[in-house]
């Protein structure tokens, strides 16, 4: 007698299309379990939930604590800070990203509803929109990161500060060494505090400023090392962007190779769409708080 192949015996919750405990017909070869993991797809009557939904909410609870820890760091550091920057980020781009993420949250929900009502075509369309939104979001985000990366604050030996974006396409310091100058699109200020509150200053005039390298005391770009605000900005949005990336990989899988499951087990497929959607909405939720605390205040 042949042995029952064991693949069916590794009780993978996603592989079993049968909600009922399955019984092997090949009795007497080797004992295959008659118990499958219950409630992998169907809801358990007393809790009203299927396993993955409990799982994702537990995961989200821990995510709440993770971002809670980061936000509490934000509060503590801001309360203890001597001065806090205002208006350092581009509100237009931030708003665009907020709207894009909200839109993707909506299409995620609609994709799930489409699955529930059995309209697979609509599912494909709406989740394609979700993915497109996610990519746009990441694109805008990386543009903003780049913008901060080429933004320099230069302490000059005469005590003034040159502040602005590098004019060369790449921060090519070899060029600066050769020509002996650094050219910024920005301004020169005498008081460093002027660089903090940009909201309070109207009509700041920006022009090309060329500084000889010999005059430079210290030169630092607006990376996370620049000050606490930027450290928080890069850490918080970086972690958030990682969540976006992870979420779009999962959604991309469900939308792409994972869609085969729709034919085999639409109910399970719908559950997957719902669970991944819940994660996506949470990521949106985090952004709803990140946007005002970083861009607006």
């Amino acid at each position: 007698m042949l042995n029952v192949p064991c693949s069916g015996n590794f009780l993978l919750p996603f592989r079993n299309p049968h909600p009922l405990p399955r019984r092997s017909v090949e009795a007497g070869t080797f004992r295959i379990s008659k118990m499958e993991i219950p409630y992998a797809i169907q809801a358990r009557p007393d809790t009203g939930l299927y396993n993955a939904k409990v799982g994702i909410w537990l995961f989200l609870a821990s995510e709440v604590m993770l971002f809670g820890g980061l936000f509490s760091a934000y509060v503590l550091l801001r309360v203890g800070a001597d001065q806090w920057p205002h208006g350092w980020l581009n509100v237009t781009l931030g708003t665009a990203n907020t709207i894009i993420l909200a839109l993707s949250a909506i299409t995620t929900l609609l994709a799930w509803v489409a699955c529930k009502t059995g309209q697979f075509g609509k599912f494909k369309f709406f989740h394609a929109c979700t993915l497109l939104c996610a990519l746009t979001f990441l694109g805008i985000k990386s543009y903003e990161y780049h913008d901060k990366w080429i933004h320099y604050e230069i302490k000059l030996k005469d005590g003034t500060f040159a502040d602005g974006h590098l004019v060369e396409k790449s921060p090519d310091f070899d060029l600066a060494k050769k020509t002996g100058t650094v050219t910024l699109h920005g301004r020169i200020v005498t008081d460093e505090t002027l660089l903090y509150d940009l909201r309070a200053q109207k009509n700041v005039e920006l022009k090309e400023v060329t500084v000889p390298t010999a005059d430079i005391k210290q030169m630092e770009n607006y990376g996370p090392w620049h000050n606490t605000y930027l450290a928080l900005y890069f850490t918080l949005t970086g972690l958030h962007a990682l969540h976006i990336l992870g979420g779009s990989i999962v959604i991309g899988y469900i939308w792409g190779p994972g869609r085969r499951l729709w034919k085999k087990n639409p109910e399970q497929f719908t559950n997957r769409v719902e669970v991944s959607g819940l994660f996506w909405h949470f990521v949106d939720l985090v952004w709803i708080f990140l946007f005002p605390v970083l861009y607006l205040t």
């Binding site: 295959i32 379990s33 993991i37 219950p38 503590l76 606490t228």
Partner: protein
């Protein structure tokens, strides 16, 4: 259709008759899928168990090296010294442990023991193996997530271990990794430490999600909340603590990693001086923020260490006193209360950080409040012994030792919880003695008990009773000889984390000064060293017994301890899917010595006997 049920021979019969054929299916899966990429909760539990035991041994070994250095500062290690010099090079030159190396051993001993040893053994190993069996589930709710959890843990362990060999050595800032020290020590060991921690946190997060979902969703029909064995309750609360307390540390870890690698200043204050010079940092950070986020995990972590142990102890006491546990409901509500309160006591580790009286009083109050449910649990367990016909087998011996040992650990914690007395005792050997009494003769004894208790379920064989007793008495005596003197040292004012064991402050070094450490206190170091070596020797019977018994132990049936809980009603060792038939639960977990029952234990899944109604026949007929 249903008749097929009867064609399935019970697992053990089958194993006996078709021995070699039955093993055939193992070959089908292949070694990799069965033992490395297994999704079976029992295999994963055993994987966790062996890895965690190895790390416990490793952590213990680090401790022995440190104890040598404390007892004989600056002297080359006998036997191991040259080996150490060869492996680690400069930091152990000439077989002498340098202060830097001592610091890394200290940091890594704590980290390994807590995060790679005890938690994985108590929570992940026993929890994985036993919880699904106890609630009558075929597996964990998410088997592949379970596998990923073990792999993340293993990777974390690898990263931690590798950090010993990088230039500069492993993390040196203590297991608490306080900033700015953690950022200013010139070694990348700290970055390894954080990355390792993030992996371990990921692992326990996945594990916690899985445990909670399993306990909520996969309880067998009839297994109501109040019929859950106390061990399951303890694991449930532990999982919640891991789920919600670990992420803030992960956040803190990410920020410290940014501090270390990207030169941010989350935890570095303005005006920070390193080596007498102003550090080149942007400043504005808060060192206290790290401490808050760390202890937000750190204190609940204590309950992660102790609650599963209490669960194990409760099971074994009920089983070996042959009577129901006293106050099951009080136990359940107490463990819930502990879980809840453990989140709001953390700053009692920080009384010396300049907190005001208002907030210290708050944390002092919650700390005292949390000792109440702990005492309730211990009291219930003690009262459970009353009037029982106790069987003194090896698991029970360890369990009985747990009770007073944990009692000592818990009660010596009270002076640390009061902020007035903590000011004196903070950061002394008293603290070390206190928490080691909780974890070493406390939790680890309970875990030994668990190993002896569940070993027959995992292998179908018992561990040797005689060598078990040798292990027990050796461990009990030397454990106390190691930790009891530390109370005295701490009360006399010996600080922890000193590579020379306080020799610089000894009466021999600074004669005549007040409040130096007297010679008797310093001599205790030598005593402790020898006690620790003896404690190590006492573990040898355990290791041999564990491996020898897998193949040669006394063969036993499915339920050798005559237990009521569900895991003992499953075949031995449980096959994939655990039970021959989906179990149905009819009663609570500790129905021992039920009057009128044929045996002195009534398994949870034994159907209620319907008394046959006597035919109505006239008496005179």
């Amino acid at each position: 259709m249903e008749t097929i049920v009867h064609e399935f021979p019970p697992y053990r019969e089958h194993e006996a008759t078709h021995g070699p054929a039955a093993h055939g299916h193992h070959a089908d899966i292949g070694f990799g899928r069965k033992y490395i990429f297994s999704t079976d909760h029992k295999i994963i539990g055993i994987q966790y168990g062996f890895t965690a035991l190895s790390f416990l041994l490793f952590g213990f070994f680090l401790m022995l090296l440190m104890r040598w250095q404390i007892a004989h500062p600056g002297q080359p290690m006998p036997f191991l010294g040259p080996l150490l010099a060869k492996i680690l090079g400069q930091p152990a030159a000439g077989g002498i442990i340098s202060p830097e190396l001592y610091n890394s051993f200290g940091a890594m001993h704590g980290t390994i023991m807590v995060f790679l040893g005890v938690v994985p053994l108590a929570f992940a190993a026993f929890g994985n193996y036993v919880v699904p069996l106890m609630i009558g589930a075929p597996d964990m709710a998410f088997p592949r997530v379970n596998m990923a959890s073990y792999h993340a843990y293993f990777l974390g362990g690898v990263v931690m271990s590798v950090s010993f060999f990088i230039p500069g050595g492993a993390a040196q800032a203590g297991w608490t990794s306080y900033s700015p020290l953690a950022t200013t020590i010139p070694t990348h060991g700290q970055a390894f430490w954080i990355i390792g921690m993030v992996l371990l946190i990921t692992s326990s997060l996945l594990g916690a999600v899985n445990f909670i979902a399993t306990i909520i969703q996969l309880r067998a029909p009839g297994m109501t909340w109040m019929r859950l064995p106390f061990f399951v309750w303890a694991q449930f609360v532990t999982a919640f603590i891991l789920l919600l307390a670990f992420p803030p540390l992960e956040a803190a870890g990410v920020m410290q990693l940014m501090d270390n690698l990207f030169h941010t200043s989350f935890f570095l204050p303005t005006g920070l001086a390193v080596g007498g010079q102003l550090a080149n940092v942007s400043g504005g950070g808060s060192p206290l923020l790290w401490q808050h986020l760390f202890w937000f995990l750190g204190h609940p972590e204590v309950y992660v260490l102790i609650l599963p142990a209490m669960g194990v102890v409760c099971e074994i006491i009920a089983n070996n006193t042959r009577k129901p546990i006293w106050g099951y409901k009080s136990l359940v509500y107490s463990v819930l209360a502990i879980g809840f309160l453990s989140f709001i006591v953390w700053a009692h580790h920080m009384y010396l950080t300049g907190m005001g009286t208002k907030i210290s009083s708050f944390f002092q109050a919650t700390t005292m409040a949390i000792s109440v449910p702990s005492v309730i649990i211990l009291t219930c367990l003690f009262i459970s012994l009353w009037g029982g016909s106790i069987r003194f087998n090896t698991p029970m011996l360890f369990t009985l030792a747990f009770l007073p040992m944990f009692g000592i650990g818990g009660l010596t914690g009270l002076p640390l919880g009061f902020n007035a007395s903590d000011v004196y005792l903070h950061d002394t050997y008293y603290v070390i003695a206190h928490f080691h009494y909780v974890v070493a003769p406390g939790t680890i004894f309970a875990l030994f008990a668990g190993v002896y208790y569940w070993f027959p379920k995992m292998t179908g064989r018992k561990m040797n009773e005689f060598w078990g007793r040798v292990h027990f008495w050796g461990s009990l005596v030397f454990m106390n000889l190691v930790f009891m003197p530390m109370f005295a040292q701490g009360i006399k004012g010996m600080l922890r984390r000193m590579a020379d064991g306080g020799a610089n402050y000894s009466a021999a070094r600074v004669p005549g000064a007040i409040d130096t450490l007297p010679g008797t206190i310093m001599e205790l170091h030598v005593w402790i060293l020898w006690a620790a070596i003896a404690l190590g020797i006492a573990q040898i019977p355990f290791v041999i017994n564990l491996f020898w018994s897998i193949g040669h132990g006394e063969k036993v049936g499915d339920n050798p301890w005559h237990s009521t809980t569900l895991e003992w009603q499953a075949p031995t060792p449980p096959p994939h899917g655990n039970f021959d038939e989906p179990p149905h639960i009819y009663r609570g977990p500790y129905e021992y010595s039920v009057p009128g029952h044929a045996t002195d234990f009534t398994p949870q899944n034994e159907p209620d006997v319907v008394k046959p109604v006597a035919p109505k026949v006239p008496a005179h007929a």
